[in-house]
């Protein structure tokens, strides 16, 4: 319709306001009042269909809107003035609302809208929708969304576009109508009742507070984007109220708009907590989740040595074995922590010992690899490298494989301690080699990760941007390791091609552990991460209060990992939820070992702890 047209000799069209679905809306001036400027909104039904039946249905629906509006009387609902048809074109003349719709307000704002403002709108909307639901016959709006709600010049809320509102007829089924994203599940089945409007209002408020448009998100995925994570200014009670409105099952939502409105009003400017009579109506206030009980776990025993324990102990053949920075390798009784023997190297022991038949093998900062008899604690052989040994030994094919700061991987005959071969690489090797198939994989401080065969020949080399101190682990044909470049890498084990990488916020020195397809590792950003090994998607992270450089251990669906914040954490593997934590007196930088009954780990407080499992 052309601007300047006068309809019915009365309404002078001034401009186009907008179009939506099946209609155009114009701003017009009512010329019946020539001495004053009385503005009206004129809605024209658009009906491009040539099909007479479809056209008739559309006219019917338009008339229904007109008739419906004519019976309604509420300050938040635009008044209807006139309805007429000119040669098959139908027009509805309504009160002109001078304002902006909430979608425009949201789009034009660069930051979150004030929570109190949104709560105020929500409470007002509840009031008008409550009016509709209790109208005789009841009216279901069916299409509540920000673009159908206006804030007028007096900042009062107005509900516009009753195009698809319908008189409530229980048990009538139909096709999906409404707007995807805001519409409740039952509306997809063609069913809509008062509780459908509760849901759509919840969706609208969620959109207004989170700035995340539900139309572009999968339907019913509210739990995937927690409101308070997106907008920390939202109070917990408001979040819970909105989530209650968004319950999948209608009966779990607020039973009516009045109650929803009363809950929302608490969060308006100057709102006060309200007492709601119906227990049904109270938003599900979940009990405050206590942080895991601290040190309710009593250690089975604690063993003190003379310096920090930075490595990982092992439990074997009735013994707990742990190297310490006091140069000693300790053998203790697992049941009591009682001292059995100790073996003194000439430098600190920082790795994890390996068991070879009746020997224990460990590297030391005295540049040597030591093999000690398990029963007597006496040396069997020593092997010299050219620099401190901070890597841990791996046993395969009768050989011990271990790296050294001399930038070599050493293969040593396990029984006699004779060197078989060395592979020279570009930097110190501090990671623990992984033996798998006929290859040995290890990281290097140069940032390279190598695959060598059992003769020491390099088969492939992968380059990360910074040191790889983290020791690789393997699952489903992929090799996983962290780097000081902040990334966790997944590399094809056969070829060395990078498959994916996952970015943490700081260096990854911690060695990953894998179970049930979940890769768990710590980062110097203070977090313990759980990442899906096949898709690289983060499943969870757990925030500690210090860097996490130690290696996590997974046992029976639980993750155990130490942090520089001095705590040992026990988390659920699938969710990352805290089960408990245990405080020591020093940062924990080493790994953990376990058998069926207990787990053992050391701390830089010079102590070795055994906790019951």
């Amino acid at each position: 319709m052309v601007v300047g047209t006068t309809l019915e000799n009365r309404y002078l069209v001034i401009r186009v306001i907008g179009s939506g679905g099946m209609s155009w809306v114009y701003q017009a001036r009512d010329m019946r009042f020539p001495s004053v400027t009385r503005l009206v909104a004129v809605k024209e039904m658009l009906n491009p269909s040539k099909d007479a039946a479809i056209r008739a249905t559309a006219v019917q629906s338009f008339e229904r809107e007109a008739n419906l509006l004519a019976t309604l009387n509420h300050p938040a609902i635009p008044r209807i003035y006139d309805y007429f048809t000119i040669s098959e074109r139908s027009f509805l003349v309504m009160e002109f609302v001078n304002g902006k719709d909430l979608e425009a307000i949201l789009t034009e704002s660069s930051d979150f809208l004030p929570v109190t403002q949104v709560a105020h709108w929500g409470a007002d909307l509840c009031s008008v929708i409550h009016y509709l639901h209790h109208h005789e016959p009841p009216v279901i709006f069916r299409d509540i969304k920000p673009s159908n709600i206006m804030s007028d010049e007096h900042e009062n809320i107005r509900l516009v576009d009753f195009g698809i509102a319908k008189l409530f007829e229980p048990d009538r089924k139909g096709t999906m109508i409404g707007t995807e994203g805001y519409s409740p599940p039952e509306q997809y089945r063609g069913e809509a009742g008062p509780l459908s409007d509760v849901y759509a209002l919840g969706a609208t408020l969620h959109h207004l507070l989170s700035r995340r448009d539900p139309r572009i998100e999968p339907p019913f995925s509210w739990h995937d984007r927690p409101l308070r994570q997106l907008n920390p200014a939202v109070p917990e009670g408001l979040d819970q109220a909105i989530m209650k409105a968004l319950a999948y099952e209608p009966e779990q939502r607020f039973p009516d708009m009045k109650i929803f409105g009363a809950v929302l009003a608490q969060f308006e400017e100057g709102g006060h907590p309200v007492v709601i009579q119906s227990s049904e109506a109270t938003p599900g206030v979940s009990a405050v989740i206590p942080s895991g009980p601290e040190n309710t776990i009593k250690p089975k025993w604690v063993f003190s040595c003379e310096d920090e324990i930075r490595g990982t102990p092992v439990i074997t053949k009735g013994m707990v074995l742990a190297g310490a920075y006091d140069n000693n390798l300790y053998a203790l009784k697992p049941s009591t922590g009682e001292f059995i023997w100790k073996y003194a190297a000439e430098g600190g022991l920082t790795g994890r010992p390996a068991i070879v038949e009746d020997m224990i093998v460990v590297g030391s900062e005295d540049k040597r690899v030591h093999a000690v008899n398990l029963t007597t604690g006496k040396v069997v052989w020593t092997y010299y490298t050219e620099a401190p040994v901070r890597s841990s030994p791996t046993l395969a094919e009768g050989h011990v494989f271990i790296g050294s700061d001399d930038a070599k991987l050493h293969a040593i005959n396990a029984l006699y301690g004779r060197g078989a071969w060395k592979t020279e690489v570009d930097g110190p090797v501090r990671s623990t080699p992984l033996a798998s198939g006929d290859r040995i994989y290890f990281g290097c401080e140069s940032g390279d990760v190598y695959a060598v065969d059992l003769r020491g020949e390099i088969k492939w080399k992968f380059h990360a941007k910074r040191s790889v101190t983290s020791s690789p682990c393997e699952a489903s044909g992929l090799l996983y390791f962290g780097s000081v470049d902040n990334l966790l890498y997944a590399v094809d084990i056969k070829s060395g091609w990078a498959v994916w990488r996952f970015r943490s916020n700081h260096a990854i020195i911690s060695s990953p552990a894998i179970s049930q397809g979940i890769i768990v590792f710590g980062s110097a950003d203070g977090r313990i991460y759980g990442v899906d090994g096949n898709s690289s998607k983060k499943k969870w992270h757990f925030e500690t209060e210090g860097q996490v450089t130690g290696n996590p251990m997974i046992s029976q669906g639980l993750v155990f990992c130490g942090s520089v914040d001095k705590n040992l954490y026990c988390l659920e593997l699938l969710t990352g939820k805290l089960r408990w934590k245990f405080a020591t007196e020093g940062p924990i930088t080493g790994g953990i070992t376990a058998n069926e009954e207990m787990l053992v780990f050391g701390s830089t407080d010079h102590k070795l702890y055994a906790l019951p499992l």
Binding site: M176, P185, Y188, R189, I216, P218, P219, F220, S221, Y248, E457, I458, K459, W460, K461, F462, H463, A464, S476, G477, L478, Y489, A490, D492, K494, S495, G496, W497, A498, V499, W500, R501, N534, S535, S536
Partner: protein, 280 residues
Amino acid sequence: MAPITRVRSRRSTKSAPPAELPHDIPMFRSGLAYDVGRVRQSNEDCLVVITSLQQGDAVSPYYGLFVVADGMGGHELGEKASLLAAQTFAREVTGKFGVQFLGGSSENYESIQEVLESAMNLANQAVMLNLPGSGTTLTAALVFSKQVFLAHIGDSRAYFVGKEIRQITHDHSLVQRLVDQGHISTEEAGRFAQRNVLLKAVGQVEGIETDFLTVPWEHGSRLMLCSDGLWGVLSDSEILRISKNYPSPQDAAIALARQANTMGGPDNISVLIVEMVGEK
């Protein structure tokens, strides 16, 4: 992908000739069926197969890229969208992965995930820019080193079909979401009215998130990619039964499409079956 130093194995100094020429060079054998079905006028699906084989003294790597796309939008838009998306995707992957695979150096250090995701983003942009109002599914498998790297958006599917049948991809559809959330059962899903409502498609919004997945090749199984014209009509057990009856992937693909047509062929049918031969 980071550069890989492949070290040549020591050349044997002995000059004994091999007893027989090898018959077991690892490679792909693939088959495909592409059919309009019994109801539709045009075929809005698109298939792409690219395989590469090289044989050298030290290495015998091979890779394959397999893509199925199912367009939507009507009025020729759907067929154009699926073709444009599949071609853009394949061009990007072969440009980055394929070139490096043939020894070409690469300045970038992208992982396979990053290569596949950026290819999907380019396909998305291409469709949004050139064919507004249309969209397409896209399910692609890059197979290399006995690993299957999948990039996926929509409800076309990837399966392993061997002794059993296992769906690898997860549909981005309303009905799948309702099943995941436990609101309807798998049985109800088959009868669900809005079965064809997709939650995600290529070419609809900026910055789509691609499902990336890596799975080891299931030894002794075939990899099957197909559009909903196949899986929406035939049950998993039917697909398995027919696949088992045909030793050749091409025959199996044709037999599957034929059976989908026998069941009414309500939609376009695209089937792509890949076997790995010569691998121990």
